[in-house]
């Protein structure tokens, strides 16, 4: 009973709260990082250095009037933010934050579950999120959101193809679909997969930027063009759900990149046991995992502060004419190498 | 002859003039103007019959007298000559705001010691008789042409290599209510190759058709729309003659001199307190 129900429930509780807090602080981090890039201070008023800003934001969004446009499709309009946020959160179930640890005399694994098709699960659940975006735009019954949701869904679907193709070549290397097994495979291979699959990593990260609608691929939310994107008509907490989902997705992309390419919870040089590197082993695995994920999150923000935005046709061209052919070529090369070695 | 025909249709709205083929209607006043350059007397007689059509917006009981001095000054008159007459005639019958309004710009002729630039000579040679009057003031040359010749002159000025006025800087107008041809439509031209400027000026009365120059300078499109919007100059053959700055359903043309600066014009002038009361009442009504 304890092992099958209580502990998983506890894990889910901790994970969900952790993720939600991380997401809200992600928003603060973004504001701070971009402010620093732009020679500003960012939020400074709520709490020291603005660290309580997320709480203020949450309160503000909660108490704001929740408007449903009169001509909107009420059911779909209400369901859309939920459809967006749920997949973004349940993906975390298969992400291994660390290996097994001993806690209170009991061995606990630092992931909610390890299913043998974990990677596919992430991809397929993430693909459900696109419904929320399409429906949110459609149900608003307004032109700009509709245009934005068409853009968004077309973008998500095209980049999903590229990302999935890229992941296949990684699966070929790892020989497993389970997230935990993939990390273990890196330990066995004595090398992080990013060094075996550099092209795949670059493709994955570009695709990840596009799938999370982040700059320079943030066209669906390009306020200069579409006044705000598919969530133009949303307000209050429903808008916040869209917002949170975007940041949760960023964390997912970063965490998956860490797991697949950068050795997950493994320390750098996972199999070199020499004295100068011993201190690396003292740091617990989950710290390594979070640190690596944080680096990717920072890159997300950094890119946003630096690059202009692609245009829609250029984005599509990049997806279909560059990323997908490269991903397929990478897969073919990987296959040949795997068979020949 | 066309003048007599126009006489009966006294309060003609601008549309009526549009019915006539644009080439035909401006021809007549234009002929009058051309002849005027030779003998001032002819100009007066030509201008007087044309006058009633200009009247509707600002009702003036009678003014052949006003019309006479208001007629564009002849080619080489002393600059001050027509003005005192204009004032005298205009003052009594105008609203205070425009009471001292002169009857027209001085359009001083070029002084004898300044030679007209090459492009004006060329224009004289190429299109004899197209220039009604030539004016020079603080270094600016102005060519006054009749509305009917505007397109010819414009096309020549743009295409001739010695003129090559390819850039239409500005199209605007000024309003001289006492004058029968109350509007001066002004085209500021510039040559990006030869780097000289000239102004073309066309005189037009209320409802007199002024051909659009968009076919020569596409840049004039919005500028002419603005002239129509703010002055009500009847610009014909314009590809898209809508109001541009004012709302589509606006009444009147605000940049005219007889258009009040604020509120319901006359009442404000006569008894400001009444006007204030009415406006407050209207405001409260709007709020409610």
């Amino acid at each position: 009973m304890l092992d099958t129900v209580v502990i998983p429930l506890l894990k889910i509780l901790i994970l969900l709260n952790g993720v939600l807090i991380a997401v809200t602080y992600m928003v603060l981090l973004e504001r701070k990082v971009i402010a620093w890039v732009q020679v500003r201070l960012g939020p400074m008023r709520v709490g020291p250095y603005g660290i309580l800003q997320p709480i203020a934001d949450a309160v503000k969004l909660m108490v704001k009037e929740d408007i449903t446009p009169t001509r909107a499709d009420k059911w779909v309009f209400t369901a859309a933010p939920i459809i967006v946020i749920v997949p973004a959160l349940i993906v975390f179930a298969v992400i291994p934050f660390g290996d097994q640890v001993d806690l209170f005399g009991r061995t606990v694994s630092l992931y909610v579950t390890d299913i043998n098709v974990g990677l596919l699960y992430i991809v397929s659940v993430a693909s459900i999120g696109v419904y929320g975006i399409i429906l949110g735009g459609w149900a608003s019954n307004s032109k700009y959101p509709l245009l934005a949701s068409l853009r968004a869904s077309a973008q998500l679907i095209s980049y999903e193809v590229a990302v999935t193709m890229t992941l296949v070549s990684l699966i070929v290397v790892a020989g497993s679909l389970s997230m935990v097994q993939i990390v273990r495979a890196q330990q066995d291979a004595h090398v992080w997969f990013v060094f075996l699959q550099p092209v795949a990593f670059v493709l994955y990260f570009i695709g990840g930027l596009a799938e999370t609608n982040r700059a320079p691929f943030d066209l669906p939310e390009a306020e200069q063009e579409l006044t705000g994107g598919f969530h133009t008509e949303y307000s209050g907490m429903r808008f916040a759900l869209f917002f949170l989902a975007e940041y949760a997705n960023m964390i997912v992309v970063s965490a998956v990149a860490t797991t697949l390419f950068w050795g997950g919870w493994l320390r750098p040089f996972p199999s070199i046991q020499v004295a100068p590197l011993a201190w690396l082993g003292l740091v617990p695995g989950w710290i390594w995992f979070l640190a690596k994920t944080f680096v990717f999150l920072y890159v997300f923000l950094w890119v946003r502060a630096t690059l202009p935005r692609y245009r829609y046709d250029q984005l599509m061209r990049l997806g279909w004419k560059v990323l997908i052919p490269l991903a397929i070529a990478n897969l073919i090369v990987t296959g040949f190498v795997k068979v020949l070695l | 002859m066309a003048d007599e025909k126009k006489d009966p249709e006294l309060p003609t709205p601008p549309e009526a003039a549009a019915d006539k083929p644009p080439s035909a209607s401006p021809a007549e006043p234009l002929k009058g103007e051309v002849s005027r350059t030779d003998s001032p007397g002819a100009g007066v007689s030509a201008a007087a019959p044309a006058k009633p059509r200009t009247e509707p917006p600002a009702p003036k009981p009678d003014n052949p007298a006003a019309a006479r001095p208001a007629a564009p000054p002849p080619k080489v008159p002393p600059r001050v000559a027509p003005k005192p007459g204009a004032e005298a005639a205009a003052k009594p019958e105008h609203k205070p705001a425009v009471a001292s309004a002169p009857a027209g710009p001085p359009d001083p002729p070029p002084p004898a010691d300044i030679a007209a630039p090459v492009f004006i000579m060329r224009l004289h040679d190429a299109l004899p008789g197209a220039v009604t009057q030539l004016s020079y003031w603080v270094g600016d040359w102005t060519i006054i042409v009749p509305a009917g010749r505007l397109l010819d002159v414009g096309r020549f000025l743009r295409d001739d290599p010695a003129t090559s006025f390819d850039f239409c800087s500005d199209v605007t107008a000024s309003d001289w209510p006492p004058r029968p041809q109350r509007f001066d439509v002004v085209y500021c031209l510039y040559s990006t190759r030869l780097r000289h400027r000239v102004r073309l000026k066309v005189r037009a009365g209320e409802g007199d058709p002024v051909p659009s120059v968009t076919s020569i300078w596409p840049a004039a499109n919005w500028l002419e729309r603005e002239v129509w919007d703010l002055f009500g100059v009847h610009i014909v053959n314009h590809p898209d003659r809508r109001r541009i700055l004012m709302p589509e359903e606006w009444q009147g043309h605000p940049q005219r001199k007889d258009y009040p600066l604020e509120g319901p014009g006359e009442l404000l002038m006569e008894s400001p307190l009444d006007w204030l009361r009415i406006r407050t009442a209207q405001d409260t009504r709007d709020i409610e």
Binding site: V117, L120, Y121, S124, I128, Y131, I134, W138, L146, L150 | -
Partner: protein, 168 residues
């Protein structure tokens, strides 16, 4: 016991959503019910121990194909009601024919499943998941039919593009 409850609950949901798909007036809603239907089918696969199939069901059908349905439904204006046909019984007739076909298929499946199971069709919950099993089945046991099917789909896809795009 628990499996049986899950199975019946899911079956009820699947049938319920299927009915809603055809009975809803709003086309977008009906597509949404179709998605729910697919998700329940995926859940059914999970209870059968076929996680790979379940994930693929979600990825391909719910995540890919139905999104395209949704595109079409949203973009093509379906607000106007379908014109009523001259012969109202025509639809009834087609309906009966189709219903008969489905009934025949169901009977065939029932008869087939009553036979003793073939050795290859055993439960696929071997260690390491059923990904390998599916892989072997597709690329070793049934390689030729698989390739033929994929060729067929490719031809259909190219044909559709050619039809839709008059000038290439």
């Amino acid at each position: 016991m628990a499996e049986a409850i899950a199975f019946y609950a899911l079956s009820v949901l699947i049938l319920g959503f299927a009915i809603l798909v055809v009975s809803t007036r709003n086309t977008v809603h009906s597509v949404l019910f179709l998605v729910l239907n697919f998700l329940c089918v995926a859940a059914l696969y999970v209870t059968l121990g076929a996680e790979f199939l379940a994930v693929i069901q979600v990825l391909v059908y719910a995540g890919g194909i139905v999104v395209l349905y949704l595109f079409v439904v949203m973009l093509v204006n379906l607000k106007r009601p379908p014109e009523t046909h001259q012969d109202p019984r025509r639809q009834t007739l087609t309906g009966f024919v189709l219903a008969g076909l489905v009934l025949g298929e169901l009977v065939a499946i029932a008869v087939y499943s009553a036979l003793p199971p073939t050795p290859t069709g055993g439960v696929a919950s071997v260690q390491g998941g059923n990904v390998e099993r599916v892989g072997y089945a597709l690329y070793v046991d049934y390689l030729i039919p698989f390739e033929v099917a994929s060729m067929l789909l490719l031809v259909a896809m190219i044909g559709a593009i050619v039809l839709a795009k008059k000038e290439l």
